[in-house]
């Protein structure tokens, strides 16, 4: 056996057996909602600049994944668009921000605002043409988020009057795809977070019951399509984590830039809706 082939075999063998090594001391891990991820990431970046002793890693995965990871103590912070289900008593809820969502339509629909009832009819497929809700003669193409999506859950809760399910339609699983699809498809309608829709071209954000999709309207309680963003800890947070959460909850500049609203700026609470 030649020297080089022996080396190859040994390297191959080593490849099978090398354990993964990880060094971590004062680190905080966060995972979950992809809607909340940009805010937590931006806040973590800013916080680490002034606190070099703390290392915060932020990943996505989805709200329910975040909840299950923090329940099993696999991560320190579970980011979620939705409230933890009843029975997860160990989890402590921190409402860190408010996020607004828009119902978006393709300009060919010819509508700029709808009532809640009209939106319900559109998504229940009772209305099939925009002309029946004051728009142009254009077929409606409804695009939903997948069943497990947090955005869909908020939509159902705040707009669809708590309907248990929606009829099956086209489905896209990421904010970017949804916005692009609505912009491309004449008569398409869907919904996504402000951060993905405010600056998007080719889509119209609908006013709901006469209130435009703006941050001030969310704060005043005029616009109904919003939700709290939650960060869950398993048990009371440690001192370091508390400090980071306090920083996050008051980071007005970062929130403005990434499309969130301070909980402290809200003039209404979830129960008033």
């Amino acid at each position: 056996m030649s020297r080089s082939s022996r080396l190859a075999v040994l390297l191959l063998g080593a490849g099978c057996f090398v354990p993964s090594l990880a060094f971590a001391d004062t680190s905080v891990s966060a995972a979950g909602s992809t809607a909340l991820q940009p805010l937590v990431q931006a806040a973590a970046d800013a916080y680490q600049q002034s606190h070099s002793d703390i290392k915060i890693s932020v990943t996505g995965g989805g709200s329910r994944t975040g909840l299950s990871l923090v329940s099993s103590k696999s991560v320190d912070l579970g980011d979620s668009d939705i409230q933890a289900p009843p029975g997860s008593d160990a989890l402590v809820d921190h409402k860190v921000a408010v996020i607004g969502f828009s119902v978006i339509v393709n300009p060919a629909a010819g509508v700029t605002g709808l009532t809640k009832k009209q939106i319900q009819d559109v998504f229940n497929l009772k209305v099939k043409n925009w002309k029946d809700v004051g728009g142009k003669d254009q077929v409606i193409t409804v695009i939903n988020r997948p069943a497990s999506s947090g955005t869909r859950a908020v939509f159902i809760k705040t707009i669809m009057g708590g309907a248990t399910s929606l009829p099956p339609t086209l489905t896209e699983d990421a904010t970017g795809t949804v916005v692009q699809k609505v912009a491309q498809t004449p008569g398409a309608v869907s919904y996504a977070a402000f951060s993905g829709t405010h600056n998007a071209s080719g889509v119209i954000e609908l006013a709901i019951d006469g209130a435009a999709a703006t941050e001030p309207n969310v704060q005043d309680g005029k616009y109904p399509f919003w939700s709290y963003e939650h960060i869950y800890t398993n048990g009371p947070p440690s001192k370091e984590i508390s400090r980071f959460l306090a920083f996050l909850e008051t980071a007005r500049a970062i929130m403005g830039k990434t499309g969130y609203i301070l909980v402290g700026d809200m003039k209404v609470s979830e129960n008033d809706r």
Binding site: G13, T65, L67, T141, A147, S148, L170, T171
Partner: protein
């Protein structure tokens, strides 16, 4: 001196044997773990959640957050998209394989072969993206649909994706037909076309079957490209022009956010198990086809 060398060589061989055996051992264990894990989680829906296997397979009532796990729409979506891909890509791939192995001048064949192999290496997201930006709008315009996401789009994208597999395998199947058969056919005065249709295709049939079956396997497991152009609507397919959903696309859309330990997650695992069983069935078919040849 010779003895020392021989002893050293002997020791080297033993080390190599142990290392390689351990590596393949790990591989076998990994495969067994994957199978066991899927079998366990994929049947939990029926044991743990008491959902009926019949409803899972034959009902298209999918409302996963409310305990309805009828996967028929996804199963049908996967089968129709794959069937369409084979209908288009199978004959086309075999025909191109015949052309390269029998008819193409050497220079042409040697220029195209690398091109075909390159097609295998194109990531599926690229196929899906091209489908999304070129094919989907084209289908919408052609058929006057508001949106071109459809089984037809998925079938066409998949047919292109399986082409390289079908082409190279059918070419190989034809090349291994013994020269004596070709010569015999020519000696009997058969034309080139007669030789291909009456002699080569029949005698390469098992190899061609393998080519097509591997195409099926590739198509049914494809996820990303399908998800991009299929529309992901959990509706039982009744038309090629409607949006639909496939087993793979449904799994990838919801696996991240479906709550752990819920019937929802278990149903997704059952769909994954079903895909695995289909893949195993296809492999058995291939073995059967190859055994017939020998």
């Amino acid at each position: 001196m010779v003895g020392v060398r021989a002893g050293k060589a002997h020791r080297d061989e033993r080390i190599a044997l142990v290392v390689l055996m351990s590596c393949s051992g790990i591989f076998v264990v990994a495969i067994a773990l994957i199978l066991g894990f899927l079998a366990f989680n994929g049947t939990e829906l029926f044991w743990g959640d008491r959902y009926s296997l019949f409803s899972f397979l034959f009902s298209s009532d999918w409302d996963a957050l409310n305990g309805h796990f009828g996967a028929a729409a996804f199963i049908a979506g996967s089968l129709v998209a794959t069937g369409l891909a084979i209908l288009i890509g199978g004959p086309l791939g075999v025909a191109i394989g015949v052309f390269f192995s029998e008819l193409a001048p050497k220079r042409v064949a040697s220029a195209f072969k690398p091109a075909i192999e390159l097609l295998v290496g194109i990531p599926s997201v690229v196929y899906g993206w091209l489908g999304l930006t070129l094919l989907v709008p084209a289908i919408a315009t052609t058929f006057h649909l508001p949106d071109g996401d459809s089984l037809l789009a998925a079938g066409i994208v998949l047919s292109i994706m399986i082409l390289p597999t079908v082409i190279s395998l059918s070419e190989d199947a034809l090349r291994v037909v013994p020269v004596s058969l070709r010569e015999g056919s020519a000696a009997l005065g058969a034309t080139r076309w007669e030789t291909i249709t009456r002699v080569l295709l029949p005698s390469a049939s098992s190899g061609l079957a393998v080519a097509v079956i591997l195409g099926v396997a590739r198509a049914i497991g494809e996820t990303l490209a399908v998800q991009l152009v299929l529309g992901n609507a959990a509706i039982f397919p009744t038309s090629l022009l409607q949006p639909a959903a496939a087993l793979t696309s449904e799994i990838v859309m919801d696996m991240g956010d479906a709550p752990d330990g819920s019937g929802f997650k278990h149903a997704l695992f059952s769909m994954a198990l079903l895909l695995l069983l289909i893949a195993m069935g296809l492999i058995l078919l291939i073995r059967f086809a190859l055994r017939r040849r020998t």
